[in-house]
């Protein structure tokens, strides 16, 4: 399978007080299309930082990160925005839905940025909402949704543009067990049917049970990189 993300000797430092804090140290990884991979580790291990750099929301201090052939460090603001808009989907722990938009409008947002024609846009939004089972909620506002429904809207918003890579930062942290499995099954199905690459930052056991590759981080270093078979998916 083709390699879509290459990380070579990545180091990321942040200013901290008078000195600097090293969040990631000499990380080298490669990801292929269709992976369902998770970065696991305790808080402060660098999971989210790594996800942010792959998502071009942040840049490396040292080393090289290439996503879909684009070197993250070399991208202008506009180019990185285009990369995110066209090829990357984000799912956040707190869903980050726009509170004043309806479910439909939240999902439609990414397509508006792509200037997709209205009819095509509507079909794509309704397909995405059907995928996550929320066609009956299209006119609801985020405040009227349960946690699980909110995260499903976030998944629909991320997948509606059919990105090559989905980046999910603790997607189940605010969900109960039943909703977590529902969300994970939806993402797994998406991964299998559309061959979308999923990268998670998590320390949730439920998520780990679905992953096909687990990369363990500790103090900004990769301490383990395990490829797992798919027959151990947990059922609630």
């Amino acid at each position: 399978m083709e390699s879509i993300i290459q990380i070579d000797q990545l180091t990321k430092r942040f200013p901290a007080g008078t000195g600097q804090f090293t969040a990631l140290k000499n990380i080298s990884l490669e990801f292929r299309k269709g992976e369902f991979t998770g970065f696991v580790g305790p808080s402060g291990s660098g999971k989210t930082t790594l996800l942010n750099i792959i998502g071009s929301l942040d840049t490396p201090t040292e080393g090289e990160v290439t996503v879909l052939g684009h070197s993250i460090a070399q991208l202008s603001h506009k180019q990185s925005a285009q990369l995110r808009n066209r090829h990357l989907g984000f799912i956040f722990q707190t869903y980050n839905l726009f509170p004043v938009y309806t479910v439909y409008e939240n999902v439609e947002f990414a397509l508006l940025l792509q200037h997709m024609p209205a009819a095509e846009r509507r079909k794509a939004v309704l397909d995405a909402l059907e995928w996550v089972g929320l066609t009956d909620k299209i006119d609801s506002k985020p405040a009227q949704l349960s946690g699980g429904e909110g995260q499903r809207v976030a998944i629909a918003r991320a997948m509606v543009k059919q990105p090559a890579i989905m980046l999910a930062d603790e997607p189940t942290a605010n969900l109960d067990s039943k909703n977590s499995h529902h969300i994970l099954q939806t993402m797994k199905q998406l991964n299998e049917e559309l061959n979308t690459t999923f990268l998670f930052a998590t320390h949730d056991e439920k998520v780990m049970a679905y992953l096909t590759r687990i990369i363990s981080l500790e103090d900004g270093r990769v301490v383990k990189d395990d490829v797992i078979m798919m027959d151990n998916v947990m059922e609630d």
């Binding site: 930082t49 942010n52 998502g55 929301l57 942040d58 603001h77 506009k78 925005a81 285009q82 995110r84 808009n85 066209r86 984000f90 956040f92 707190t94 980050n96 726009f98 509170p99 004043v100 938009y101 409008e105 947002f109 990414a110 508006l112 940025l113 792509q114 918003r157």
Partner: protein
């Protein structure tokens, strides 16, 4: 287009905050238009009244006449030039003779200006017809300010003393034939109007005048024996007063606008602080930072557009009503020495409304842009975490 769409969606979802901002800004918008409308109405009214009551379509002055120098009055007269007599006969020019005198109301002495005018003139609105057909030997007209100042009423006698062309003192009682009510103080305060021929006779200046008021149909010609003063010259002082009033009023409506804009500025600063995650999400979903800045800037501008629409809803009927019924001025304003009517009818021209709309939209856009610029410097990962202080 997307920015406009999103901005309107955001402010419609902001609820009470939006209502408050729009209400304050619309109030400022209506008051600014009202203030300017009153000034414009006053300006137009004062110019119109001054033309109708005092200066006509312009004036021709005898050499040496200076209306602001009373000492010039003694010599500021001359025979009416032959070349201008046809226009006088045609009713295009009205001669006025000006002289200094003293009045003795209730035994006290007061300096006055005597003005002789043809009782049959139709050029000015001064009711000079009252000077005709009077039984009184010497009828006189005064304005309401003058009547109040010397405490006379219609039919009262008033002793006048003046110097004739040879400098000899003479005195006579005049009878107040009428008291006119004009908004123009410069034809009223300290002035007594007499029939032209009678004043010429009193001064020993038959056929002479100080100035000629031009009416409709008069065309100034080159090499006229007396200098023609046009509206720009004669209304210069009035225009200057209006301009200075505009400046003073500008401070008031500037303050109003600043208060309204501060509300928007505050809202935008608060929005950027409170909506960090939203900003981070916009960027994560593929917006550039400047696209997000544009959304927030358009949001501020949208407040002003909604404020203008709201202002139009309640302001249009209110201002229309005021423009029809007028705005009563306090009685003290009559003593200010400038043309102020008892009621000013505000004039709300398209130019005024358009300029105010542009001012409000532009300033609201600028004060929204200033805090929104901060977004361009945001680190999206910090924004997503809500870490920005």
């Amino acid at each position: 287009m997307l920015a406009i769409q999103l901005a309107f969606k955001n402010i419609s979802g902001a609820g009470f905050r939006t209502i408050l901002n729009i209400a304050v800004l619309s109030f400022a918008f209506v008051v600014i238009i009202f203030y300017n409308g009153v000034l414009e109405g006053w300006n137009q009214q004062a110019r119109r009244d001054t033309m109708e009551w005092e200066i006509g379509q312009g004036q021709l002055w005898v050499p040496g006449y200076d209306p602001l120098d009373y000492l010039s009055y003694q010599d500021a007269h001359g025979p009416i030039p032959e070349t201008l007599k046809p226009q006088i006969a045609a009713g295009q020019l009205a001669p006025v003779l000006v002289a200094q005198a003293s009045a003795f109301p209730q035994g006290r002495m007061q300096g006055v200006v005597l003005k002789g005018i043809d009782p049959g003139q139709k050029m000015l609105k001064i009711p000079t017809a009252l000077l005709e057909g009077q039984e009184a030997e010497m009828p006189a007209l005064v304005g309401k300010r003058m009547a109040q100042s010397i405490k006379v009423k219609e039919g009262d006698q008033l002793l006048l003393r003046w110097r004739d062309k040879n400098g000899a003192f003479d005195a006579r009682e005049v009878t107040i034939a009428g008291i006119f009510d004009s908004n123009v103080p410069t034809i009223d305060g300290g002035q007594i109007w007499l029939p032209l021929e009678r004043l010429q006779e009193m001064l020993g200046l038959p056929g002479e005048a100080t100035l000629l008021v031009a009416g409709e149909g008069f065309t100034p010609f080159a090499n006229a024996p007396w200098a023609f003063k046009d509206h720009d010259y004669l209304l210069a002082d009035l225009d200057m007063i209006i301009q200075s009033k505009k400046g003073a009023s500008g401070i008031v409506y500037g303050l109003l606008l600043v208060i309204a804009l501060l509300a928007i500025f505050d809202t935008q600063v608060l929005s950027i602080f409170r909506r960090q995650k939203e900003i981070g999400t916009y960027i994560a979903l593929g917006m550039t930072r400047w696209q997000v800045v544009r959304i927030f800037t358009v949001e501020g501008a949208a407040y002003s557009i909604l404020a203008i629409l709201l202002g139009a809803v309640y302001g249009a009927p209110l201002l229309w009503y005021l423009s029809k019924t007028g705005w009563a001025m306090p009685s003290a304003s009559q003593d200010m020495g400038i043309s102020i009517a008892e009621k000013i009818y505000p004039v709300f021209g398209a130019g005024l409304i358009l300029a105010t709309v542009l001012l409000v939209v532009l300033s609201a856009t600028i004060v929204s842009f200033l805090p929104a610029r901060k977004i361009a410097k945001l680190n999206p990962t910090d924004a997503l975490k809500g870490k920005i202080q």
